[in-house]
């Protein structure tokens, strides 16, 4: 466990000056900022809108690209960047001659990638809510403050996080085995396209395909029901696609460990 924690801290130390790390912070910041500017300049068109619809417009603009493109590509990129640090510096050999178990080294890297994705999605929630409320302050005609969807957004993004597990584990392993960028990127891009097509065509078995999960997570989600006076969005977290994603990630993670264990460092 100590080896794992030390390795995890070292991952942060190594990556804190790389694009891989900053992408997790800058991506949500820039996208939310852009949206903020967009809503700010077009505020008169949106002024009459009911608060709930306003939030759905605001958050939905991001979510629309999130499932189909942004999240899968971000996951592919993070999986690559965490491993490429070692490929580029040729440091696998020195990493595996340290008195730290291979499991710790491998698991720390995997969970660090997971952490970056979590961080990125958490910041999306934070910035969406933050900029939404900021809009109601600077443009009082936009009534963002009259409806609260913090809880819904948090749940929704958490579901997106879970839906990325399958892709992450596969891309992580590909990036670990292949030192170049194009191979895992190419495979990931192709699989994402297939995922988007199957999910949007509602192919009955697409829940078995991890690259379709982010899309499915959003697609199956919003059941608009009316409970009492306020319309509610109910999110079912553990749908069968999420369960498949978690299972796939666990299996690939364990499989990857045995590959790392057997792996000879050339």
């Amino acid at each position: 466990m100590k080896g794992f924690i030390l390795s995890f801290r070292s991952e942060f130390f190594k990556s804190r000056k790389t694009l891989g790390f900053w992408a997790a912070i800058l991506l949500p910041l820039l996208i939310c900022l852009l949206l903020f500017v967009g809503f700010y300049t077009k505020s008169e068109r949106l002024a009459g809108m009911p608060p709930m619809l306003l939030w759905i417009q605001f958050a939905g603009a991001i979510l629309a690209v999130m499932g189909s493109l942004l999240l899968p590509m971000f996951v592919i990129f993070i999986a690559y960047s965490v491993n490429s640090i070692e490929h580029k510096a040729d440091t696998w050999k020195s990493l595996f001659t340290l008195p730290i178990s291979r499991l710790s080294v491998y698991a720390a890297k995997y969970f660090y990638a997971l952490f970056l994705i979590f961080l990125c999605l958490a910041l999306f929630v934070l910035f969406t809510i933050g900029f939404g409320n900021l809009l109601s302050l600077v443009k009082p005609e936009l009534r963002f403050d009259n409806y609260h969807m913090e809880d819904t957004l948090a749940k929704l993004y958490f579901k997106l996080f879970l839906s990325s597990l399958g892709i992450l584990s596969i891309q992580f392993l590909l990036s670990l085995l292949w030192s170049d960028f194009l191979k895992p990127m190419g495979v990931g891009f192709f699989a994402t396209i297939v995922g988007v097509i199957t999910a949007s065509k509602s192919w009955e078995y697409c829940y078995l395909f991890p690259y379709a999960h982010p899309m499915l997570a959003l697609k199956l989600m919003p059941h608009n029901t009316t409970k009492g006076d306020n319309p509610q969005i109910v999110i079912d977290l553990f749908t069968k696609d999420i369960l498949v994603g978690i299972t796939v990630s666990a299996l690939v993670f364990i499989g990857g460990y045995f590959i790392v264990l057997k792996k000879s460092v050339k």
């Binding site: 390795s7 801290r9 130390f13 190594k14 000056k17 640090i85 510096a89 050999k93 008195p99």
Partner: protein, 299 residues
């Protein structure tokens, strides 16, 4: 023995790159692991560090079996394999800090190491901008960071200028004499090893051709009489007629295997009687370079 291997063999596919190696590295030694490029040196080192899985034979380090005691053994080894593994986007100091963090070494040790390898002035420069020699020195600093009992260095002077080579050599000698370290160092340059090693293993084609102390290696080389004369070819012919075996003839020198001082005097007298001008005559150890070549070529 700090390192002891028995019948260590390794195949890449169908090609056997290490053949039944029996290494014996005593404590407190500088063990020079010599061989031409592609002899199997790096493969052996990777086996010793458990980067490659042992296929046949056994490896004991500090008298412990490697596979079963991997972590405890590795915690006492500092290693430098081929080109040093350095994060180019971090500074030299950050590279050391990262390693110190991983291995829980006090931060002040980082500055000591920078000092030791003369990188204090370049500590905050990105390692990607380091020269090859600086990278190599940073690699050595990384290997020394935990104050390990055993240092395994794969061609550590590669890319260093003569000054750098001398510095590394002095550093290693100091570590062994003052801190009782054991150093296992590979090289394809005999001249470099000859000046510091206490023990030598010579490998070629994956096979260990010689192993022993440096004096044992020197004993293998037969001393020669080197004669500097005016007409070396005729002089050599004369010596042959008088039943002296001639080892070698060049434009300047004739070489005859040495047996005794009297023999040297006899040869001198013989040449002078036959009106050859002898400029000099001396006893000479066959240099290790030639010995190395003859060992690796006879295999």
């Amino acid at each position: 023995m700090v390192i002891r291997t028995e019948g260590l063999s390794f195949n890449f596919g169908s090609q056997q790159v290490v053949k039944s190696l029996n290494l014996q590295v005593p404590e407190g030694s500088i063990y020079g692991f010599l061989g031409p490029n592609g002899a199997g040196k790096t493969t052996t080192i990777k086996l010793l560090l458990n980067l490659l899985k042992t296929q046949h034979g056994s490896i004991h380090i500090f008298e412990q079996e490697l596979q079963k005691n991997r972590i405890s053994i590795l915690s006492q080894i500092g290693a430098l394999i081929e080109q040093p593994a350095i994060y180019q986007h971090l500074s030299g100091k950050e590279n050391l800090l990262n390693r110190a963090l991983l291995l829980q070494v006090p931060v002040k040790r980082v500055d000591e190491m920078l000092d030791l390898v003369h990188l204090s002035n370049a500590a905050n420069k990105k390692a990607g901008q380091y020269s090859l020699g600086m990278k190599q020195r940073l690699g050595i600093a990384l290997a020394l960071l935990t104050d390990p009992k055993l240092l395994i260095l794969d061609e550590p002077t590669n890319g260093l200028d003569p000054n750098g080579i001398i510095e590394v050599r002095e550093l290693l000698l100091k570590l062994v004499s003052q801190h009782r370290k054991t150093v296992f160092i590979s090289s394809h340059l005999l001249a470099e090893i000859e000046r510091m090693a206490t023990h030598v293993g010579i490998i070629d084609g994956g096979q260990l051709l010689f192993q022993g102390s440096i004096t044992e290696l020197e004993a293998l080389s037969q001393p020669l009489i080197r004669i500097e004369a005016d007409n070396t070819v005729d002089a050599a012919n004369l010596l042959k007629r008088k039943n002296y075996p001639v080892a070698d003839v060049t434009d300047e020198y004739v070489y005859v295997p040495y047996t005794s001082k009297k023999q040297m005097g006899d040869i001198n007298a013989l040449l002078i009687q036959n009106e050859y001008v002898v400029f000099s005559i001396s006893k000479q150890q066959k240099d290790l370079e030639k010995l190395f070549l003859s060992i690796t070529q006879n295999a």
